[in-house]
Amino acid sequence: MSGGRISTLKIAVGNIVHKRFRAVCIVLLIAVSTLLITGGTMLGFGLTGGVKSINARLGADAMVVPRSAGESYEGALLTGSPSTFYLTKGTVERVLQTEGIARSSPQLFISTFDSAHCASLVQIIGFDPKTDFVVTPWLKTASVTEPGYGEIVIGNNVQLVVGNKMTVFLLELEVVGKLDKTGMGFDNSVFVNMDTAKMLLTEYEKFDGATPLPEGATAEDVYSAVLLDVEKGVEISSVQRKINLGFRDDDVSCVASQTILESTAKNLNLVIGVLTVLLAAIWFFAVFVLAIIFTLALNERQREFGILRAIGATRRKLTAIVITEASLLCGAGALAGVGVVCLIVFPYSTLIERTLKTAYLPPQSLVAAAILVLCGVGCAVTGPLASLFSAARIAKNEALANIQEG
């Protein structure tokens, strides 16, 4: 030994190096706990963000869609699973005569193909700017230009920028705007005006695998959905009932926005609740296991602490050695856990969104950074916290007692 002062850090590092297997086990335990806690927290924030996003974007009281396409519509709305379905113009006109409807606007849903004829698999949503009261307000809020004929506004997941051209059914359409992330199906959608949508539907029908138009109908004769707002003082459910009962034979279904939101929110709140309990349980489990590990490890080392006391180490010094050791191990574990979370959560965020099959809006960078730091620190303090009791007990004993007990 050089004869220099032995620092607390030096002793702690020496102990860790000397007991490598134990050190690796503790680091792994904390790394896995950090991974689960941080990953779970990110997931919880993403799901909550998704529900808020749906709440903000479902701008109509209800939607009329073909009954057979109810799930496709919800899929297109929440997860962006592209689909094509039709309502004939005649049916739409009759539905809109239902009492209690204040305003309405048709939309046309067309799915592109997962092939070279389309730049990517997206949901095309055609809206009528003259009657629309849902898409146009978002475009205005996001300062996005309303698309003209042959122009498109793209969702956030479409990897193009304003001014680019996008190939759709072998046609080149100009991107005039890009929407912010919504965490919903709209991120994988392309918005066009109704004239462009009709033209695209004509092109779509030329390809193998296209959903055929209703018998005798042309692209001009169909829509996919109609968004409705009911008159003031009228119950949405009463209009919904009238449409569902009155048009039972026309394969028409009226879905209230609140129903979609409530069912999604209810399910997600349940998931978030279970997730929170699980994460808390994981943290307490980690503290408990570490407390046992440190108690056993420090019991084995009573002799070592007795000798340290005999050669002049204060009680405070002994406590500091134990806590430094625990902090180093748990700090390394937390850092490794956060690193793995970064390698999974950020690169694979789209895969996570797809797998969840529900509205998922990942936390923004600042919030994500705060979650990483807080969860990392929370897991890193597990060790010092768990070792406090054992450290205090060891430090309390007299040197001779420690040597004898060891």
Partner: protein, 146 residues
């Protein structure tokens, strides 16, 4: 770091290089031709085909360098190979983005292949950096001994 640990790092790097070369071509089907929506039997390559081929070349280069460094004895050559492997890791990450992937995040090349090669690239960089650091330490120690 002793010779066994250095060799272990080389073997890991070799496996990562192999994964980088093979994954884009096979497991995740980055290359898809024709498929649904073909018109008149016309089949065209997906936009990400070139990116996939370029990534395979980068992965193959990493594999060859890692394999070669298993047999290299001279420490300075080992250092140079580590440096090249770090650059290889960077290339594995940026190549698909530079060459161009499909337009939507909903395409498999964007949500599986690109993140996977990014993670592989990061691991290659970290392991190659560890190898470089151990080489520098060996050089430093031998210089002190002299």
């Amino acid at each position: 770091m002793n010779q066994t640990k250095g060799r272990t790092l080389d073997i890991f790097l070799l496996l990562l290089g192999l994964a980088t070369a093979i994954i884009p071509l096979t497991i995740y089907h980055l290359v898809e031709t024709g498929g649904m929506g073909a018109m008149g039997g016309m089949a065209m390559d997906m936009e990400c085909k070139s990116a996939c081929e370029a990534e395979t070349i980068v992965g193959a280069a990493i594999t060859v360098i890692a394999a070669a460094s298993l047999f290299i004895k001279k420490i300075k050559l080992k250092l140079a190979s580590s440096l090249v492997l770090i650059l290889g890791g960077v290339a594995a990450i940026i190549t698909p983005r530079l060459v161009g992937l499909c337009t939507s995040d909903e395409m498999a090349c964007r949500y599986i292949t690109a993140p996977t090669v990014t993670v592989l690239g990061i691991l290659i960089i970290v392991l190659a950096a560890a190898k470089l650091l151990s080489g520098v330490l060996i050089l430093h120690r031998s210089a002190l001994a002299e």
